[in-house]
């Protein structure tokens, strides 16, 4: 019985592409999870969605210019975030409306250029990722971005958290709130770029929200929120990679489905906030 179980775990790992996929999924899951805690607390989920869609023209233009696609993606993502801030400061529109216009406009621009240029990269792979096609070079790139982002977040987490919690106070005690704001935006763009190969432009937002949302329901302290979010994400990544192998399903989508199922269970049964718990308690 036990031996059979191990057999199931070992079999997919005999393929190098599956090993790379697993490593990629865990890396991306981890960095997205850590960042998702800030996104959920800051109420920036829509910002994450906007930035991830906005990278499309960056990728296509980078392809035309023959520079690394991730640089193009990063610049485009950051542009979207900064442009949103700029328009907000200079108009009376609310942020969500501005973001909606900017990111869908950029996404549409990306599509138009893509069809004109007809690059060799599949649109499917940009939109939904291609985790089974990950190469060693991709792993290095993602690995470096992930480790850099993780280090920055973990070392500066106190200031980032204070910024999310009480921006006015952060300002009053002299923290550089503008710098912190842009640090968060840069990290958001980097995280999205790092995740593109694994889950693509459309699905990355799930990885950037679900773990933080699950952890939020389960914790009353930030340190435990970080730990829960990372565990959920890494667990889902591993489970998703194996399950998708046996079901012959899309790996990125399976990982996200796993997180979604965990979210639903948490939503229903969380000790304090679960709706079923509360019903029975009455």
């Amino acid at each position: 019985m036990m031996a059979e179980f191990f057999e199931y775990l070992i079999e997919p790992m005999q393929y190098a592409f599956m090993q790379r996929a697993l490593l990629m999924a865990v890396l991306v899951g981890l960095v997205c999870a850590i960042f998702s805690c800030f996104l959920v607390l800051k109420g920036w989920s829509l910002m994450g969605d906007a930035v991830s869609h906005a990278v499309l023209p960056g990728i296509v233009i980078a392809y035309i210019l023959a520079i690394p696609l991730s640089i193009g993606a990063f610049v485009a993502g950051l542009f979207c975030a900064v442009a949103t801030g700029y328009v907000k400061e200079n108009s009376r529109l609310k942020e969500d409306s501005i973001m909606g216009i900017i990111f869908s406009g950029m996404f549409a621009l990306g599509l138009v250029i893509y069809l004109k240029v007809q690059p060799e990269i599949h649109l499917d792979h940009i939109l939904f990722g291609n985790i089974l096609g990950v190469q060693a070079a991709d792993l290095w790139e993602t690995g470096i971005i992930c480790i850099g982002t993780l280090l920055l977040i973990i070392l500066r987490r106190h200031d980032l958290l204070l910024y999310c919690f009480d921006q006015a106070y952060a300002r009053a005690i002299g923290l550089p709130v503008k710098l912190i704001h842009y640090t968060l935006l840069v990290m958001l763009s980097l995280t999205i770029v790092a995740s593109l190969k694994a889950v693509g432009v459309i699905l990355v937002i799930a990885m950037l929200i679900a773990p933080g949302a699950i952890a939020y329901l389960l914790s009353n302290r930030f340190s435990s929120m970080l730990i829960i979010a990372s565990s959920v994400a890494v667990g889902s990544s591993i489970a998703g990679v194996f399950i998708s192998f046996y079901l012959d399903a899309d790996t990125g989508a399976t990982i996200i489905l796993t997180q979604t199922i965990i979210f639903i269970i948490t939503f229903l049964f969380a000790p304090k906030s679960g709706i079923l718990r509360n019903k029975t308690a009455i």
Binding site: L41, N90, H158, F165, A168, Y169, G174, Y216, N220, R221
Partner: protein, 295 residues
């Protein structure tokens, strides 16, 4: 707590503040405060109290005029970690995953190294601040699991731990029971005696003469500012609140059976009322019933 590097002062010099949407919340406002002051900031909802705080903290730049803190421009003063802020309850996300202790520790960030690792002194200051506001036993509670009064005390403890010299309190008495209100007032007086400067937005007209030596009356501009005894007159309050305020006056005939002609005025903005007997301003004797304090 004797030697301060900076003499905390606040000067608001003819400022006009306009939001991005074109709304001018404050215009041509001026007043000046010295060290060792508790100043009440009084005005109806929407009169610009929070906006004034935001401009003192440099959140919004006045389109005209300037704010000076301890003789310095706002940004320079903020860098020195002398300004502190107690937010209005509506501005706090009470579901945020932080414990009481975490919030108070935020007050120490400005004193810590780059990595914000607390040392012995930081921990001691946090413990002391919690003790001072009587929240020691709640240090491990998530902030949403507190009553209105306890919530306020946590944020006050944060300012105490910070050793802030210029402290801005945005409606610290809203949703607070009378006992906590008195405790907070005592703490503020203590801090005033240490030479700090506090600006307190409040609707509790009745308690202002008790603990605020200065008063600024605000309605999109400064209507009156100065020593409470001079500023806090029925006439000025009338001007500040217009029809919003409830104002009862019982004439001498209704009040007494003797020849005393003094009348009794009760002025209230829904919180603790201000009672004026004859011409002098009297403290109210907690005429309102205790506000809810559930936990």
């Amino acid at each position: 707590m004797a030697d301060y590097k900076f003499n905390p002062t606040l000067k608001v010099d003819d400022i006009t503040v306009t939001y991005n949407n074109g709304h001018t919340a404050i215009h041509d406002a001026s007043f000046e405060l010295e060290a060792g002051t508790i100043c009440a900031l009084v005005g109806v909802n929407g009169s610009g109290k929070s906006t004034l705080f935001k401009s003192i903290m440099g959140f919004i730049k006045p389109i005209k005029g300037a704010v000076t803190l301890s003789g310095m421009a706002v940004n320079a003063a903020l860098k020195l970690n002398i300004v502190s802020y107690v937010p209005q309850a509506e501005d706090v996300d009470w579901n945020f995953p932080v414990l009481v202790e975490d919030v108070v520790m935020m007050g120490r960030y400005g004193h810590m190294n780059f990595l914000r690792i607390p040392n012995k002194k930081d921990k001691a200051m946090v413990a002391e601040a919690l003790e001072k506001v009587g929240m020691t036993e709640f240090s491990q509670r998530q902030i949403g699991e507190l009553s209105g009064g306890q919530k306020k005390r946590v944020f006050l403890a944060r300012s105490i731990a910070q050793e802030g010299q210029i402290i801005l309190l945005d409606e610290p008495f809203t949703g607070v029971d009378v006992k906590t209100e008195l405790a907070i007032m005592e703490l503020l007086k203590e801090m005033r005696d240490e030479g700090r400067l506090m600006l307190v937005a409040t609707h509790n007209l009745g308690s202002i003469p008790d603990f605020c030596d200065h008063t600024v009356l605000l309605n999109r501009t400064v209507l009156a500012a100065g020593a409470t005894a001079d500023v806090f007159t029925p006439k000025n309050l009338e001007k500040t609140f217009g029809g919003v305020l409830r104002h009862f006056t019982l004439g001498g005939d209704d009040l007494h059976d003797d020849d005393d002609a003094r009348s009794l005025s009760v002025i209230t903005d829904d919180e603790r009322p201000l009672v004026i007997y004859g011409k002098e301003t009297k403290k109210s004797k907690h005429a309102t019933s205790d506000k809810d304090e559930e936990a």
